[in-house]
Amino acid sequence: MRALNIAATGMLAQQMNVEVISNNLANMNTTGFKRQRADFQDLLYQNLQRVGANSSDNGTILPSGIQLGVGVKTGAVYRITEQGNLTSTGNTYDMAVQGNGYFRVEMPSGEDGYTRAGSFQISPQGQIVTAKGYLVQPVITIPQGATDVSINENGEVQAKLAGQTAPQTVGQIELATFFNEAGLEAIGDNTFMETPSSGPANVGAPGTDGFGTVLQGFLETANVNAVQEITNLITAQRAYEMNAKVITAADEMMSTMSNLR
């Protein structure tokens, strides 16, 4: 009986669905997290009786054939890069990107990583670093004794230096955009790496054509919608149960058969 295997593919798919949903829910409060969605596709079909085949010598054709599907598979698990909500933190070095773009971060390996989580801090050398201590690119050093650090929406970092009244520009935040954002590889720690599929990073100043703006004192929350995820979870769980029921029913049919005298 195919029904057993078909229902097994269904259960596997729903299991994957629950895994994706649970990861979304677990990251509900992760800064800059982008929710994912599992996209399912049907498996190949077996043609037991091909539609359009001749049904007689007179050239009449079968109006409908018999095509049996053999189950379901996961086509893709893709990231939905919708803008998350912005929440005010009042922290000087917290930044959120409104619109397109990622902050560029130098990873310990020397490669560039990209992140939407702008919860930055200051290193002992006065450089702007991520929560992990990785340098934000290009390196911006806040001079010692500087006060009133402000970052405008175009990414210009200004500070009042000791003994001066007018604020001085001490650096410029840059953003990176990608041709195919969905092609970025997530490596954890809210960080993404460039892949051949994402295309090379296109670096530019915030607020210029195609780049989002930077908001100081705000963080981007996850774009996970709890209600939506919970309803998806209910659907996935019920679908899992129903597929399990199919296995029971198919098993009963087989046991009926084997109990025939």
Binding site: L4, I66, L68, N180, G199, A239, A249
Partner: protein, 247 residues
């Protein structure tokens, strides 16, 4: 002679196939743009042996002659992804298959490859209204897709998605080929009433309650047939024993 056995067997073979179809429907409950199927049955009448003085008995076997596909639209699910589209009406998107043939799909989850081609989640290029692949350049941003399928970015119109539909009489010729794709020998025509909805995908049109009740019916019918076969065997056993006693 053993017609009862054969009739029961034809019923059970048909029920098993129907069970496979129901299992496939339920497995694809959450598959994007999946179309539910059901099995069609008919009688296959065979002339029975005529016994003297009585009317001729016709024997009716169960024969599953086809699978019907229900093209009703599924529920529309909001995803918020700018490259997800759902189609209303009877529209299909055109897709280029591996062998160069044109296939059709209602699964509008699109992505962009590294060379800018717009593809389905299985990597097949999506075609525009002239049947060519659609290329998005690196300079195109903020893609919006209008209800008629026109894709435009910040630099103006890029392409128009090819949305087609099949004539009523050609709908029967549509075959499923897996990966949410359909193929057909008939030529489609540009869709008139289909709309393209951006940021949504079409869900599966499987109604789980219907499928579950069908499944219950199948397993009960299967058991009944098995019971019938058992009873027939009992009758045969009894007749053999009694005939032996007479002699």
């Amino acid at each position: 002679m053993d017609n009862t056995l054969y009739i029961g067997l034809s019923k059970q073979a048909a029920l098993q196939r129907q069970m496979d179809v129901v299992a496939n429907n339920l497995a694809n409950m959450n598959t994007t743009a999946f179309k539910r199927e059901s099995v069609l049955f008919q009688q296959y009448v065979q002339d029975g042996a005529a016994t003297a003085g009585t009317a001729k008995d016709d024997i009716a076997f169960v024969f599953d002659y086809g699978v019907a596909r229900n093209f009703a639209p599924g529920a529309y699910i909001q995803t918020g992804n700018s490259l997800d589209v759902a189609l209303t009406g009877k529209g299909f998107l055109m897709v280029e298959a591996d062998d160069g043939d044109t296939m059709y799909t209602r699964n509008g989850h699109m992505s962009i490859t590294e060379d800018g081609t717009l593809v389905t989640s299985s990597g097949h290029p999506i075609l525009d209204d002239a049947g060519n692949a659609i290329t998005i350049t690196a300079a195109d941003r903020q893609l919006t897709i209008a209800k008629d399928g026109t894709i435009s970015g910040n630099q103006g119109v890029i392409a128009k998605l090819g949305v087609v539909e099949f004539a009523q009489e050609d709908e029967q010729s549509i075959r499923k080929t897996g990966e949410s794709l359909f193929s057909s020998t008939a030529a489609p025509q540009p869709a008139v009433d289909a709309q393209v909805l951006q940021g949504m995908v079409e869900g599966s049109n499987v109604e789980p309650i219907k499928e579950m009740t069908t499944m219950m019916q199948i397993s009960r019918a299967y058991q009944q047939t098995a019971r019938m076969l058992e009873q027939y065997q009992d009758i045969q056993n009894q007749s053999i024993q009694r005939l032996a006693k007479v002699q």
